[in-house]
Symmetry: C2
Subunit: 274 residues, 2 copies
């Protein structure tokens, strides 16, 4: 599930991972920014509630985005793999200006959507300029390499994290969420230490990274985004430690980014204003 | 409370912060190494149980070190500031080859020992070659700038940590303990972001940093030591954020050091073997 190639002459859409538990009122700075990108009163938003097993997750976001003035909002209740082939859902996705993937369990997203026409459609739409936001599990599924689960704690260990293929909207990032709230630095570093070509971002609750088509992101919300850059890693004991033992890692670069700060994913550089 | 100056021609003693909850059997790799440094069967260890309010904390370490073959072990039950002036306790400290400070509450250590003849004696003895270990609160009190308290979570915030003057055995470090177990990266980074001239070390439980007289430490134990090096910090919002808000920090260097790895505090470099 690699990202769809760029469509010549067209900017990709934004990719917007949210750390979960975002403010779900009309005042939410994150959802306001998302609605604005979607085109506001001209926007057409599709909600994908597949990660959640609560029946009202989709309708709640539908109502919220409608109250925020979006012209057309529809939730597509994909609950099993067969649903991810339905023409009406693909039609809705093809009409969308933005897509919102709710929280829940990211393994439901990967097992139900993986390899289906809906997954392909989401990737193609993003390449064609449609903005894709995901919160909590919906954020985890965004990249090519997804954190499927793991244990908490700041010290990385050999068996702390499970990785699975994600939706593949980006192959530069690994994303973790509920970051401050669930103490997930260790599992994010574990995920990166297998193969340090990726950048890790740990997103606190009520916080989002708005990743622009040119590969820079802005932090919006009340928490922070922790960037873990292993590109200068000089030593890792991952290949030799025993199961459950701590992993030695030398030379991790860490940035804490609160609202109003930015990060250039290509140059791996944080900055304060554009 | 600055470190006592080096005594010409004499190596300082080791400084050994332990992350708390160390294995307290005769097989403990940390306590074995400490006993060895203390001189083993020729050793004279003084235990300072002041941080603890449990009466048997001192006697338990006395019995343990005796079972491990140390010739003379004595616990000096300093319970109020007047005790820290007693000649018999100063005499015991002056005879010691090593001193062990137990866990409990580091504010008991700083409020009861601070500015007393016992505190001065510990610093002078360390400068003269006596090894000083401290576990949990006993580790926190070791440096000049002590973390007195704070809240958990990996994202630093403006009000996350309280700093107080410590025992002053080193002025290069800030030490936090129970690191993995209590999710303390945020408060350690907060402590460093006030003034990034220090290096932060977060020590997991059952883990110790054996800091040699030449300023290198070796990691011993079942967890890891997280080194937070802010010396290349390029931006901090600490001075401008609102109380409780996350602090942006660009360019933190992070190293995870498990058993058998080393760190040179002067060069701020980790390494694998000497």
């Amino acid at each position: 599930m690699c990202p769809s190639p760029d469509i010549s002459g067209i900017d990709r859409g934004y990719i917007i991972p949210i750390g979960g538990a975002e403010d779900k009122t009309e005042q939410s700075s994150i959802l306001q920014r998302f609605v604005e990108l979607a085109g506001g009163s001209e926007g057409r938003i599709v909600v994908i509630p597949t990660a959640s097993q609560l029946e009202d997750t989709g309708p709640q976001y539908e109502q919220l985005f409608s109250r925020m003035g979006v012209a057309r909002v529809v939730s597509i209740p994909i609950d099993e793999r067969a649903d991810a082939h339905k023409d009406e859902y693909l039609e809705a996705l093809n009409q969308a200006t933005a897509i919102f993937i709710t929280g829940g369990n990211q393994l439901r997203l990967s097992t139900i959507l993986g390899g289906t026409p809906v997954a392909r459609c989401i990737r193609r739409q993003n390449a064609g300029g449609v903005h894709i936001a995901g919160t909590s599990a919906g954020a985890a599924i965004i990249p090519e390499h997804m954190i499927a689960g793991g244990s908490s704690g700041p010290t990385p260990t050999e068996d702390q994290v499970q990785i699975a293929p994600g939706l593949g909207l980006t192959n530069q990032l690994v994303i973790d969420q509920h970051f401050r709230e669930r103490d997930r630095l260790g599992r994010l570093m574990s995920a990166l230490s297998y193969n340090p070509f990726l950048t890790g971002i740990g997103i606190d609750e009520d916080t989002a990274a708005f990743i622009s088509p040119d590969g820079c992101f802005e932090v919006v919300g009340s928490g922070a985004v922790t960037v873990v850059d292993p590109s200068e890693l000089s030593y890792s004991s991952m290949a030799s430690v025993r199961r459950g033992d701590p992993v030695s890692l030398f030379g991790i670069r860490l940035h804490i980014l609160a609202q109003g700060t930015f990060f250039d994913l290509d140059k791996r550089k944080p900055y304060v204003s554009e």
